[in-house]
Amino acid sequence: MSFLASTAAQVVELAAEADAGAADAKAEAAASSAGFAYGLAAIGPGIGIGYLVGQAVQAMARQPESAGQVQTTMFLGIAFTEALALIGFVVFILLKFA
């Protein structure tokens, strides 16, 4: 009986170890993909904001009298474009720490 009990205890221990191993592997994979998540999310908005601000500067240089309006619209556009990168940053935080 005691042999059976010790075997059962061993099985339980092994299962717990396997669980912990799987959880470790999952955490490791999440942590190493976190960097990719933010890096990939930053490409598009980076190009987008660069293009947007470049065009805004061109518009302001061509028509300095409309600079105020262009600037406001530019900030709006940046806010919308930037949101994608920021969601990528939140995904990074979730993958790395949550």
Partner: protein, 252 residues
């Protein structure tokens, strides 16, 4: 060689309560900063004199009001948006003072880097633009103008209406809250990273020659974060104004 130990994220954003731990009334650093972000602008506005020729504090207060009026209200809504100036101005001031504590020594934590503050502000903006829309166009009119954009072939409404519903009623408040939250949290983590790097370099004997570079970056980033605080406050109130304007005058 360089024992760089980054603190866990809970050490950066979670603060022990000053009193009332584990109760509904728990009061920690975030609560204190939120209170200050409410009280400082209110005191500034109450203390400033109302003279014809402004000086000192009155200058600051008046130029702030003028900035919000011209750059936010007039450019996004127009003259009929003047009655939303108090709301947008208080939003601007609250967000700005909540953010600027990121760079003030002994505080060094933006209140908006915890999700609770941006979510409440975004819900206020959400409730405002919906109620303004319902008031200006009636419930049916508001739903029609926001869910059925004109100039779309009838059959496409099957596709367009769910997308418009998502983007107007769910993604707008979500985007507002996440934009503010993620910007401030990212800035906070950035400053912490360079702070930790400076401390570690100070302790590393040979690498201390790189310290001035790293410290200069930290100083530069602190200035950058002041700018980010201002821009985020501006963008938050500007987007709220744009949503109010879309509810007030729907495009035909």
């Amino acid at each position: 060689m360089l024992a760089l130990e980054f603190p866990p994220i809970d050490n950066l954003v979670k603060w022990p309560a000053y009193f009332g731990e584990d109760t509904f009334y728990a009061f920690n650093k975030i609560s204190l900063i939120s209170m200050l972000a409410m009280l400082i602008p209110a005191t500034m506005f109450l203390l400033s004199k109302k003279e014809l020729v402004p000086s000192g504090l009155q200058n600051i207060v008046e130029s702030t009001v003028q900035f919000v009026e011209n750059q936010v209200v007039m450019s996004a809504i127009g003259a009929d948006g003047r009655k939303y100036l108090p709301l947008l101005l208080s939003m601007f001031m609250f967000v700005f003072f909540g953010n600027i504590f990121e760079v003030i020594p002994t505080f060094q934590m933006p209140a908006n880097a915890r999700m609770a503050n941006p979510v409440i502000l975004a819900l206020v903006a959400w409730a405002t633009f919906i109620s303004v829309g319902v008031k200006a166009q009636g419930f049916g009119g508001f739903m029609k103008s926001s869910l059925f954009p004109p100039g779309v072939p009838k059959a496409l409404y099957l596709l367009v209406t769910p997308i418009e519903f998502l983007s107007t009623f769910l993604l707008r408040p979500f985007g507002l809250a996440v934009r503010l939250f993620a910007n401030m949290l990212a800035g906070h983590i950035l400053l912490v990273t360079f702070g930790v790097l400076c401390i570690t370099l100070w302790q590393a004997s040979a690498l201390v020659i790189v310290l001035p570079l790293s410290f200069a970056t930290l100083v530069g980033l602190t200035g950058f974060e002041v700018m980010v605080s201002l821009i985020q406050a501006f963008v938050f109130s500007l987007l709220t104004a744009v949503y109010i304007s879309l509810s007030l005058h729907p495009h035909h």
